[in-house]
């Protein structure tokens, strides 16, 4: 079994996010350091969350602006942004992106002997709120950029023991 501290979580997540955006959304996304948190919360933001639990426990939160969320939904569904009629489509796409990133993380943790299961993703909308998870052994924060849009990904991991 691997030590949580020794895992290249940042590398795993970066590869995973870029792969999901490239393959499913035909969008190229690059790391942005420091993350553009202000850009994400303009006009409110959307947070997709997926959790994993087992020998290790953790959460992945993906923050995007509402505008970017709609563009992501349009790209994945093969529509124009104007065709995206409701939040339902945006929720589904953000949830599915989180599911893919979370599924990849879960698989890498399991391959490292840190067996865990993945939760169903959830999506939260809002303005000016902050999500903070306490007591985690590892916390990684990564900013991404696609053209004028930013995304922020937070990863929390701890041992169940």
């Amino acid at each position: 079994m691997s030590d949580i501290q020794a895992l290249d979580l940042k590398g795993f997540v970066t590869h995973s996010v870029q792969s999901v955006f490239h393959t499913m959304l035909s969008m190229e996304i690059v790391l942005e350091d420091p993350p553009d948190k202000a850009g994400i919360s303009t006009n409110g933001h959307i947070v997709g969350t997926v959790g994993f639990a087992g020998v290790v426990m953790g959460t992945i939160n993906l923050f995007v602006s509402r505008t970017f969320g709609r563009e992501m939904a349009a790209a994945m569904l093969g529509m124009t942004v104007e065709d995206i009629g409701s939040d339902e489509e945006v929720n589904d796409v953000i949830g599915e992106v989180c599911n893919m990133v979370g599924g990849d993380m879960k698989s890498r943790l399991c391959d490292a002997g840190l067996t865990c299961s993945l939760s169903i993703p959830s999506v939260t909308y809002g303005n000016g709120f902050k999500i903070e998870s306490k007591g985690y052994a590892r916390y990684e924060q990564l900013g991404f950029r696609n053209r004028q849009h930013s995304a922020l990904l937070e990863l929390y991991v701890k041992s169940a023991n």
């Binding site: 393959t23 599911n99 599924g103 698989s107 399991c110 391959d111």
Partner: protein, 247 residues
């Protein structure tokens, strides 16, 4: 004979992508959003293929697979798992349960079709079906030049469809030693990212096959194309006649 395909996934988006992947083939798609609904649909519809997700509410894909395999009437239906989880143990456990293939998200519809073709033949829709579903005719030929006319609305599915058809057309052109193409976007109502990607893809495909290509756009579109880095350097003609003279 039409192949019935059951896609079981809690994401409507994924079900839609699966559905689109099969749209060029003689397939009827039915959908279910969890394992329980999937089992009911499999019992009722007796599909020829099931595309199954793992992480779903109510009943997950593993439980649905177990129940399928224990049902004498359903156990022989080929199943392809389509899931975000790629862990070695996970894959091994599922492969032991008798699935035909395992595909990890993210994925492209074309990759799914390739996997399906490895386990069963897929028939393209007949010409009549195709005409009914896609009345758009993209290619015409003027003397020794093939003209690709883009539709009024270029969305991502249109891009995928045209790219596929273009690939086949270029092969035909190469065989017939036709080396000139005009890409006519004059009738396109909106210059969006899908259109830009399609133009770039068309130019790349032509370049790879040594086919000379010219783009036709109206003056307003020409200005809009300059606003995109990818198309800002492309020389644009304002009519097919003008493009023919420079080819």
């Amino acid at each position: 004979m039409t192949l019935k395909v059951l896609t079981v996934d809690d994401s409507k988006t994924i079900r839609m992508i699966v559905k689109k992947a099969f749209q060029s083939y003689d397939c009827a798609i039915c959908e279910a959003e969890n394992g329980a609904e999937g089992l009911a649909a499999a019992t009722k519809e007796k599909p020829g293929l099931i595309i199954l997700d793992i992480t779903m509410p109510v009943m997950n894909g593993i439980e649905m697979l177990d129940r399928l395999k224990s049902d004498p009437e359903l156990k022989n239906i080929p199943v392809i798992m389509l899931t975000a989880e790629s862990g070695k143990d996970n894959v091994l456990n599922i492969v032991k349960k008798g699935i035909k293939d395992y595909m990890v998200k993210p994925f492209k519809g074309e990759e799914l079709i390739e996997r399906v073709r490895k386990i069963m033949p897929l028939e393209s829709r007949t010409e009549a079906d195709s005409a009914e579903n896609k009345p758009v005719k993209y290619f015409t030929q003027v003397e020794d030049i093939v003209v690709l006319t883009l539709p009024a609305k270029v969305t991502r599915p249109v891009t995928v469809e045209v790219e596929g058809k273009l690939q086949a057309k270029i092969q035909e052109m190469t065989a017939a030693q036709i080396k000139k193409m005009i890409l006519d976007m004059g009738g396109v109502s909106e210059t969006n990212l899908s259109l830009i990607k399609l133009i770039i893809a068309a130019f790349q495909q032509c370049q790879q096959a040594s086919v000379a290509v010219k783009l036709v756009a109206n003056p307003k579109q020409s200005e809009e194309l300059k606003g995109f880095q990818e198309t800002s350097q492309i020389t644009v003609s304002h009519s097919i006649e003008e493009a023919k003279t420079v080819l």
